[in-house]
């Protein structure tokens, strides 16, 4: 196998890599922020003693966690046009799907974060006259989020890798950029090799960051 190193030029980076990388990162950030917001709501629903509130959240989370992400991506992409009569585009579809899917995973992280705070903390804030909402807002969630940073980061790394699944609906992400470049230049092996390296560098740096955060957190 001969690798053609002349394939790796600034031109490649500029015209094929940047656009896809930006979308992959955007999707990761949007899915993380959206997933955390809706995940927190789902987590609060799931810990509710009222069945009418906790059951729908449980069903949603369990369904999402039991279906492969690529299927959710495809289903949503195909379902929306048949419901509203027009396509919303691969990118917007990807944003919505990822937020919906990641919410379920972040929900479980946040829920276990909330449950990891000793009951005495709630007792103390309730004893001071705080409402359920104030207790969550000022006492429980800030502590839970702080404990959750490493595991959330780990989930974000997985999420970043999972963004490559949007190839299924043709969105222009990092992987797609390399695929097109590989085809245009007739050098698919070089293209996918570089793609793997870019994914590796980003994910490996992030996981080192998590390690560092964990060790500084313990101190």
């Amino acid at each position: 196998m001969n690798l053609d190193l002349s394939f790796y030029t600034w031109n490649l980076v500029e015209h094929y890599l940047i656009k896809g990388l930006v979308f992959s990162l955007e999707l990761t950030v949007v899915a993380t922020v959206g997933g955390m917001v809706f995940g927190t709501c789902l987590a609060l629903m799931r810990i509710s003693p009222i069945k009418l509130i906790s059951t729908p959240a449980s069903i949603y989370v369990n369904v999402m966690r039991s279906i492969p992400l690529v299927m959710v991506i495809l289903w949503f992409f195909l379902l929306v046009p048949s419901l509203i009569g027009r396509s919303i585009g691969a990118e917007l579809s990807a944003y919505v799907t990822f937020i919906a899917f990641e919410s379920a995973f972040f929900c479980e992280i946040i829920r276990s974060g909330i449950l990891s705070i000793p009951k005495g903390q709630s007792d103390a804030s309730m004893a001071l006259g705080m409402t359920f909402q104030q207790n969550m807002q000022y006492i429980i969630l800030p502590q839970a989020f702080r404990n959750m940073v490493p595991i959330v980061m780990t989930q974000v790394i997985i999420l970043f890798q999972d963004t490559s699944l949007v190839y299924a609906i043709g969105a222009y992400d990092l992987l797609k950029g390399f695929e097109i470049a590989g085809k245009n230049y007739g050098r698919p092996i070089e293209a996918y090799l570089l793609a793997a390296m870019v994914y590796f560098i980003i994910c490996f740096s992030l996981s080192r960051l998590v390690k560092w955060l964990e060790s500084s957190h313990q101190r």
Partner: protein
């Protein structure tokens, strides 16, 4: 004036009865020590008084309000009942001053300045004014518990509940916490203390409630409990005989 009244209170965990037809009254300014063997329901009883534990039967009236009615404003009621826990339960992510001002601002609706000066005042009273910007993790157990007492006092409670406040402390720190409690008692604060510190009970309390197996077995004056033990039930006599106190 009656601050707390328990009428025939019973509570079960599943089929296990933790509180068995408990009746008691607490008058303003009284200092009451609740003692008894572990598992006798002392901590459960004190936690029912601000509804951290619910009851299945009977009625509890605090500051004129029946606390187990469904329409009772529990946060409002709890804000007037101070509570100190065995494991301190300071908020570890907040500084000492934030621990003391948060509920004043969010629950009582005070301004930050008013809350701050209150916090400083009570920290000074427990002798920890210089620790104002520290975090709970930087304080010793005894200091944490004194901050917890100051935090409760900032709410200007009508009654203070202590749930084994010295049980989690190293022996050399028990004294500093008991001293703060004794001072409070002298100043006329209404107090209920679950404690094994019988020396403190003898010195500071007006009345002693002795519990066993979910029942209030004795409810008598300090003098009766410590000076006429032969008039007590055999269970209470046995308990007293096993405990050293000075």
């Amino acid at each position: 004036m009656t601050i707390i009244e328990l009428k025939d209170v019973s509570k079960w965990y599943g089929t296990f009865q933790v509180l068995n037809h408990c009746n008691a009254k607490v008058n303003a300014g009284e200092v009451i020590v609740i003692c008894g063997p572990s598992g006798s329901g002392k901590s459960t009883l004190i936690k029912t008084l601000n509804a951290l534990e619910t009851i299945q039967e009977g009625e509890i009236i605090v500051n004129g309000i029946s606390i187990n009615k469904p329409n009772t404003n529990l946060p409002l009621l709890r804000s007037k009942v101070g509570m100190v826990f065995q494991s301190f339960e300071l908020f570890p992510h907040l500084s000492v001053i934030k621990n003391l001002t948060l509920a004043q601002v969010k629950v009582l609706g005070k301004t930050k300045d008013a809350a701050y000066s209150f916090a400083v005042h009570y920290l000074d009273r427990v002798g920890l004014k210089d620790q104002i910007n520290k975090y709970p993790g930087q304080l010793s157990g005894g200091q944490q518990q004194r901050v917890a007492i100051a935090r409760a006092l900032c709410m200007e409670p009508v009654v203070m509940l202590f749930d084994e406040p010295t049980s989690a402390l190293d022996p050399e720190m028990v004294g500093e916490v008991l001293d703060v409690m004794a001072e409070l008692a002298q100043e006329g604060m209404t107090m209920l203390c679950v404690t094994h510190e019988m020396g403190f009970a003898k010195k500071v309390s007006d009345r002693v409630i002795f519990m066993d197996q979910g029942k209030i077995v004795e409810d008598c004056t300090n003098h009766q409990f410590f000076n006429d033990p032969h008039l007590l039930s055999s269970r209470a006599q046995e308990f007293l005989s096993k405990i050293n106190y000075a």
